[in-house]
Symmetry: C2
Subunit: 450 residues, 2 copies
């Protein structure tokens, strides 16, 4: 369908009726996509062709840079029309990305009521429930009849009609009624009487992760948002939540790999932005490696005497690193999904300790076997001592790595530092340092004379 | 509210009416949660107390082990009642987790039609669209009137009524109509005439990730599922999709950390299962470290002559590891979110190369500075040569790490091996081996005489 559009656009002169008809038959998200590949002139030309009924809707699905081009080309009246046609959350999303002059022009072309709402929504902290909610919801006073409810639904432009929220006269949230139960009810029943169960809601200042947790748990299509006095002020719809769930996961992925999260898609981020997001942790982690350098340097004599010790360092460091990142990944993800909480810290640690012991023993066994099979021709008694040293170290390394891998993220979350950011560099540094110390001291104790 | 319930349950004798009333007023998901903490006897006792109208719904939200206890305690008729009351996807979810004898008992107590549907759904491949869809959808023949549509809605028990699917007499999917437009339409309009835009659907054998992509892109509340002949056979609702999106992300997290994905929550997985999921990659990665051991062993003479080279190995390996995992993480995640595709491989590689060059230069610079500031007292001319060697190696390491970090996941996905599984061990091994080779050869070339 996108191809048809591009063929139609490239014709000269453009077949306006045919093009408009095709655009109208397309899903608005796909229509929005088309603008990505259009130049400035075409962008404005094609946007003007859109029927009024879908223009605002399409606008919400266009990339920000093209939105700006369009707004700058439209008349004040047209701008007002578009912004009035957007759902509040989309309007706020768009305004947040625009430069100051565009924002001013936009705000001065909407009704005062709408401007007030937008300004209020813009004030909520980033990633708070208030900042992602929309104000177009279906609320019904408890004394409305079912008949009145349907009349309301026909009149109001709301983002989701599948759930109606029942409020008192003073806007205090009382409950929720599904459209299905309205359809099944008698015309003159009071909607307040249809409320069956306790209603679950989020507060404007809650973190969006709390809302995500509620969606995950309760299978909502929309979640009501209340202020501190429990008055209904907005809703979050599940389609927005899918995006937020993905965004949160992406942020965790990035933080765990030591990347400062960015909201821009991969290919839209330039070389400098990419580098800036990564260089920080690369530096920190590289400088942290200085510790290992110092330790190895301190045992230079031992290495000169038994060079094979040096060749085993990467194996120990890699194994610890892998075990630690396995544990950290599982724990961070489980916390993100609300499967474990700080109160489980001892349970988690005990589980990880046993896993570490088991895995460590297996690793040590396999490695010992390998070293025995591939023993150099000129083995001396030291070789056995080296195998013993490495084996014990491997078990200890696993224990340390898994302990750090579970405790650091959990403590990080408790003291409100992102567990991913807190855990990754600390695990690497502490684990490497401790591992090498243990390795060399053990070597000294077991092998002797070094 | 959970606390109220536990207080009520612990009373002796149990206040049945009060308990039942409280249970009915609770969200069914919360009711399902209660069973997690109940013993066998209480589980059965409390489940029997539930009003018939919510029993099946609650059942769908109980953990599998308690579901089994309940089913085993109920009469055949009661079992039939519960299973008939479940939505098809929940019924299939439940049956998939039960042992054979429970499955047989369940299937022999449902209507033949239902049994057929369940058997059909069970046959779809795991993680396919067919395996997660449900068959309770609202479909309307194109020649129905709006009035008939509403009558249908009142009669049928469907999972989502917010979108009605319009089909031909032979069940071929024609389009979708929102409940909102039905409410706004005249009673005698044909529903077929309300279809405005091209309908987007998934096929039963598509991977669930395709469905997730469509939900992400189009903000659907439900997605129609068709067979090869484009006949409507089911829908996927967005609430199920939120779970699947989270599951897919969790799987990617786990695979990237070298853990075999498990569907069980963290604390419900035993020590052996945890160890089994992790030991595989730990072994592979440990044995892969043998290569680095061999290389270091091969340059023993150089290390004996200039021991400082050995102390720098961890720094090089860690920096490369971090850069590689940053790139791999970004690329794997961007592919999962459909932001980049195989056709972009050169673009991605070129971007990563430039990022690597920039980051590598910065790392090399900072490290050189550090080595100059903290130079040992007895530096000889070799020290400068070592700094030069490390600096050049750091840039080369970054280039190799980023190249592997982007190419391997993309190629892995292309040849249908999970990019996370394919990339992680290969990146570590290849990067470590190549880095050390370059480091030592460069040292030999620059320093000379080793």
């Amino acid at each position: 369908m996108k191809d048809t559009i591009f063929t139609l656009i490239s014709e000269n002169p453009i077949q306006i009726p045919k093009l408009r008809e095709t655009l109208t038959a397309m899903n608005i998200v796909d229509v929005g996509d088309i603008f990505e590949d259009l130049d400035m002139e075409r962008t404005i030309q094609i946007f003007r062709l859109l029927p009024k009924s879908i223009a605002a809707n399409v606008f919400a699905h266009i990339v920000h840079e093209k939105q700006q081009i369009i707004i700058e080309a439209l008349t004040d009246v047209e701008v007002g029309g578009i912004i009035e046609g957007l759902f509040m959350d989309d309007a706020v999303d768009f305004i947040e990305e625009m430069p100051a002059n565009v924002v001013n022009r936009v705000l001065s072309n909407v009704t005062p009521e709408r401007r007030d709402v937008i300004n209020r929504l813009l004030k909520y902290p980033e990633e708070s429930v208030g900042s992602i909610m929309t104000t177009e919801y279906m609320s019904l006073r408890e004394d409305f009849t079912v008949l009145e409810a349907f009349a309301r639904m026909r009149e109001n432009r709301v983002k989701g009609i599948h759930t109606c929220y029942i409020v008192r006269r003073d806007k205090i949230l009382l409950g929720a009624v599904s459209l299905k139960s309205l359809l099944l009810a008698k015309e003159h029943e009071r909607v307040g009487d249809l409320v069956r169960t306790h209603v679950i809601s989020a507060q404007t200042h809650d973190d969006q992760e709390i809302a995500a947790g509620l969606f995950r748990k309760y299978d909502f299509l929309s979640l009501p948002v209340v202020d501190k006095e429990n008055r209904l002020v907005g809703i979050i719809t599940v389609d927005d939540m899918v995006e937020i769930v993905e965004e949160e996961a992406t942020e965790d992925f990035e933080r765990m790999a030591g990347i400062s999260p960015s909201e821009e898609p991969y290919l839209r981020t330039g070389v400098f932005m990419h580098s800036r997001g990564r260089i920080g942790w690369l530096m920190v982690l590289m400088l942290a490696a200085t510790f290992t350098e110092m330790i190895i340097g301190g045992f230079e004599d031992a290495l000169l005497l038994i060079p094979i010790l040096g060749t085993l360092i990467p194996l120990l460091m890699d194994s610890g690193g892998n075990a630690g990142s396995q544990t950290a990944t599982l724990v961070i993800r489980s916390m993100a999904l609300d499967e474990i909480h700080f109160k489980d810290i001892l349970k988690v640690w005990w589980l990880e300790t046993r896993v570490a012991f088991l895995c460590g023993l297996l690793l040590a066994g396999i490695n010992a076997l390998r070293m025995i099979i591939f023993a150099p021709a000129d083995t001396d008694p030291t070789y056995t001592a080296v195998i013993l040293t490495v084996s014990v170290t491997l078990v200890v390394v696993a224990l340390i790595a898994n302990t750090l891998g579970c405790l650091l993220p959990m403590i990080g979350k408790k003291i409100k530092i992102d567990p991913a950011v807190f855990a990754t560099p600390m695990i690497t540094t502490v684990k490497d340092t401790v591992t090498l110390m243990i390795f060399f001291y053990l070597a000294r104790a077991i092998i002797g004379g070094i």
